[in-house]
Symmetry: C2
Subunit: 414 residues, 2 copies
C-alpha cells in the first residue's frame, strides 16, 4: 500500500482511509462506489519503464506499484496475466486496418476475472480473513475458487451462483474445492443473498462492484496491452460490459499510465453490451439513471440486469470520449465462428461480444476504418460449449470407409 493515498467516493467525493474492508461510502450507500487514489509523483520517482522491462515476472504482479496491495502479503501462486496480444488478420473483416486481440481466456482459470480474484485473495489476507465470498454468473466465481485453491488449505471460497450458470463453470469451481451455493433465482437475488451472508458471517467480499480493490486488478488487462504495444496506445479500446467493473478498470489502467507518463495518448473506450440485457448502454444513451432490465442473452457473463458499477463504467466511457453499443445473440454466435475460424481464438459468448461490437461500430461509423483498435476476449470458449455448439452445429458423420468418405467430400465440394 506504499503508493495508495486513500479511497474516494465517486458520488460525493468524500475520502476514506484505504482499509481492506472499506467497501462503499457509507453516506452514499449503493451509489457510493469507491476509487483507489495513488500518489503518482511518488510512483514516478521509484519506478520507470526500464525497471518494468527488466522484471522477468510476466504476471500482474509486475505492476505492483500500481496495485493496492502490501508487497509483503503472500500472493496466490497461479500465474495471472501475461496473456498474449495478437495483431489480428480479422481487422479487415471487422472494418478496420489495425486490430489487436488479447486472449484473456488463457488466464489460469480461463477468464479476465483472475486479475480481480488474485487481488481479492491478497486483500482478504490483509483483512485477516480466510473465507472469501462472492455472487457471480460464473467467471468471478471460478477465478476466486481457483486462486483460493492455489493457496492450499489456508483459505476457503464460498460462491453464490444463480442456477442458470453453465454447468462447465459450476463444475470448475467444485473442482477447485469451493463451497458452491446454487441459488434458485436471478443474479440480482443471488447477489443480495451473498451480501446478507457476508454481513452476517463476516466473510471477505469479492463482489467486484462493491469492493474498490478488484477493479484495480482488472486494470492490469489494459496496462498489459499498453506495455505489449510498447506504450503506443490504439485509438479505441473495446470491452464487453456486464456489471461495469471491467471497463471501469480498463480506464483506470489507462489513467494511471498517463499520470505516471508511461503513455501520452489515451484511447477512446467502446463498451459493448448484449441487446438482451443492456441497461448501461440505455443509461449512457439516454443520460438517465440506471433502469434495471431483464437478463435475456446467451452471454451469461455479461447478463447483469441491475449492474452495480454502472456509474464508474459510464464515467469511464464519457471521460474517454467513447461510446456504448449493443450486439445481438446472433451477432455474438456468429463472432464465435468468425474469430475461431480466422484466428484460432475460441471465446465464450461474453468473451467475443466486444469483438462483435467492433464490427457493428465500424458499420455504424462510430469507429473509422483508419483507426486502430484493441479488444480483449474476456473468457475461454471451453467454458460454454453449449452455446458454441449452437454457433457451429455438428461434425460430419461416417463409417470408417474410404468410399463413403470420397462421396462425402464430393457432396461437401471439398
Amino acid at each position: 500500500m506504499k503508493y495508495v493515498k486513500d479511497l474516494v467516493c465517486i458520488s460525493c467525493g468524500e475520502k476514506y482511509e484505504a482499509s481492506p474492508t472499506q467497501y462503499l461510502c457509507p453516506k452514499c450507500g449503493e451509489k457510493g462506489i469507491l476509487d483507489v487514489e495513488y500518489d503518482y509523483e511518488k510512483i514516478k520517482k521509484d519506478w520507470n519503464k526500464q525497471d518494468l522491462k527488466a522484471n522477468p515476472d510476466p504476471s500482474i504482479w509486475r505492476y505492483s506499484p500500481l496495485l493496492p496491495i502490501d508487497p509483503n502479503t503472500p500472493k496466490p501462486p497461479l500465474r495471472v496475466g501475461g496473456t498474449p496480444l495478437y495483431k489480428s488478420n480479422v481487422a479487415k473483416l471487422l472494418g478496420v486496418e489495425t486490430l489487436y486481440i488479447k486472449d484473456d481466456g488463457l488466464n489460469p482459470t480461463g477468464s479476465l476475472k483472475d486479475r480481480a480474484s488474485a487481488i481479492a485473495v491478497v486483500k482478504a489476507q490483509e483483512a485477516g480473513m480466510n473465507i472469501v465470498a462472492c455472487a457471480s454468473t460464473g467467471n468471478a466465481a471460478s477465478s476466486l475458487a481457483g486462486n483460493i485453491a492455489s493457496m492450499g488449505n489456508e483459505m476457503k471460497a464460498v460462491i453464490f451462483v444463480p442456477s442458470r450458470a453453465p454447468i462447465g463453470k459450476v463444475t470448475q469451481l467444485l473442482v477447485f474445492g469451493a463451497l458452491v451455493l446454487s441459488v434458485k433465482g436471478s443474479y440480482e437475488e443471488t447477489f443480495y443473498l451473498s451480501q446478507e451472508a457476508i454481513d452476517k458471517w463476516g466473510w471477505y467480499n469479492r463482489n467486484a462492484a462493491i469492493n474498490p480493490y478488484l477493479v484495480e486488478g482488472k486494470k492490469t488487462s489494459s496496462i498489459e496491452i499498453a506495455e505489449q504495444l510498447n506504450w503506443q496506445m490504439v485509438d479505441w479500446l473495446v470491452y464487453s460490459v456486464g456489471d461495469g467493473c471491467t471497463i471501469a478498470g480498463a480506464w483506470k489502467g489507462m489513467y494511471d499510465l498517463k499520470q505516471i507518463g508511461f503513455i501520452d495518448k489515451l484511447p477512446r473506450l467502446l463498451g459493448v453490451q448484449s441487446e438482451g440485457c443492456a441497461p448501461i448502454t440505455q443509461a449512457f444513451k439516454n443520460g438517465t439513471d440506471l433502469v434495471p432490465v431483464a437478463e435475456n442473452t446467451i452471454a451469461d457473463s455479461i447478463a447483469v440486469g441491475k449492474p452495480r458499477n454502472y456509474i464508474k463504467a459510464i464515467k469511464a466511457v464519457k471521460d474517454s470520449n467513447g461510446d456504448m453499443i449493443n450486439v445481438t445473440d446472433d451477432e455474438i454466435l456468429n463472432m464465435i465462428k468468425i474469430l475461431g475460424k480466422n484466428t484460432g481464438i475460441f471465446g465464450e459468448p461474453a468473451g467475443v461480444a466486444g469483438v462483435a461490437g467492433i464490427k457493428k461500430a465500424t458499420e455504424n461509423g462510430i469507429i473509422k476504418p483508419t483507426e486502430s483498435v484493441a479488444v480483449v476476449v474476456t473468457g475461454n470458449g471451453l467454458k460454454d460449449i453449449k452455446n458454441a455448439e449452437k454457433a457451429v452445429g455438428a461434425p460430419l458423420t461416417l463409417q470408417p470407409d474410404l468410399k463413403e468418405l470420397s462421396q462425402l467430400l464430393k457432396d461437401y465440394n471439398f
Copy 2:
C-alpha cells in the same frame, strides 16, 4: 533446417534426407519411426544460454535452433508454449518433498499438443501443402485446427475423430473451422481411414507417431521445464502416455540439452498409462512386442489401444533408467479433485493421469520421498466437463433465503 543433419530409422538405423514428407523408413514400415538428428557441435557454436535468456519471445520458437524448421517459414501466430511451472504444495500429499507442476492446459487451444501442431503447420508449408490432416482423440485435432485457423484462410485442417470424442473437443475444432469427420469406429479404425485419405489426396500428415517432426515440437515441454528450473533438472520427469510420442519427445528434449551442454543431469522418466488401456506399460514390463488392447478408460486423450510410437516411448523410458506405471480411472478422478482443490489447476483426465502416477509410484517405492519430481498436466479440464462432474458431483441448491442458507451451512458443518 540449419542444424538438422538427417532422419534416422530407430529400428534399422538407415538414414534419410530430412524432407518434410519423409514420414517413415520404407524398409521397416510401421516400425520404421524416424528420429531427427541435429548437428550439436554447430548449435553449440551458434547458440548459448545467454542468447536464450536475452530472447523476449516466450513461445516454443525461442528454441528454434533445436527445432527441425526453416527459420524463414511463416509460423502460426498463436503463442504456443511458455506455460507456467509451479513449485507445488501438493508434493507432500503425493509423497515427495519437491514437486513442480507445469500447466500445459494453458496453451492456446488448451493442451500440450499445440506444441506439435505448430510444427505441423510449418512443415506443411515447407512441403508446399495447404491441407493438413490427422486422426485424433481430440487434442491433436483441436490444436491442429486452432493453429491452422490462426493462419487465416491460407490453410485448411481435415480432422478424423472417433465418435466417442467428448463434445467439447469436437465443438472446439468446429469453431476453428476445420472439416471434421466423426468416424463410427475405434481410434484404430479412425487412424487407418485418415492414413488412406492422406495417401489418396496428398494432404500433409499430422499423425504424430508417423511424422518425425511433431515429436520435436513436443520436446519443447521438457526443454521449457529445464529452462524454468534454471537448467537444474529434477530426478524424475513424469508424463501420461497414450500413443507414446509425448514422452518420447520429452526425452528427446533432455537428450538435446545434454548434448549442447545446457544441462548436466538427465532425469529418469516415469510414464503413466491408464489401467484400462496400458499396452505400452505391458510391453515395457514384459519385454515383449506390443500387443494391442481395448480402450476402456475415461482418459480419452491417452486411450490408444494400438499406439504407434511405443518403440520410441519404451526406448526413452529405458534409456532414462525410468519406469512405467498404471493408474485406475478412480485414481484419475480423485486426482482431478486433489489437484483442483490444492493448486487451482484443473486438468482433464489424461492431463492429471501423470500426477496420479506420482502418488502411486511413491507408494510403490519407485520414486523415493527425497527425490524431486516434475510433471506436466497435459490438457485443460474444461475440455472434459462430463468426467470432472463425475469427480465432484453437484453444488448445494437453495432458494434465495438467508434462513435456508443458515440451516444449510449448519448441516454442512461449515
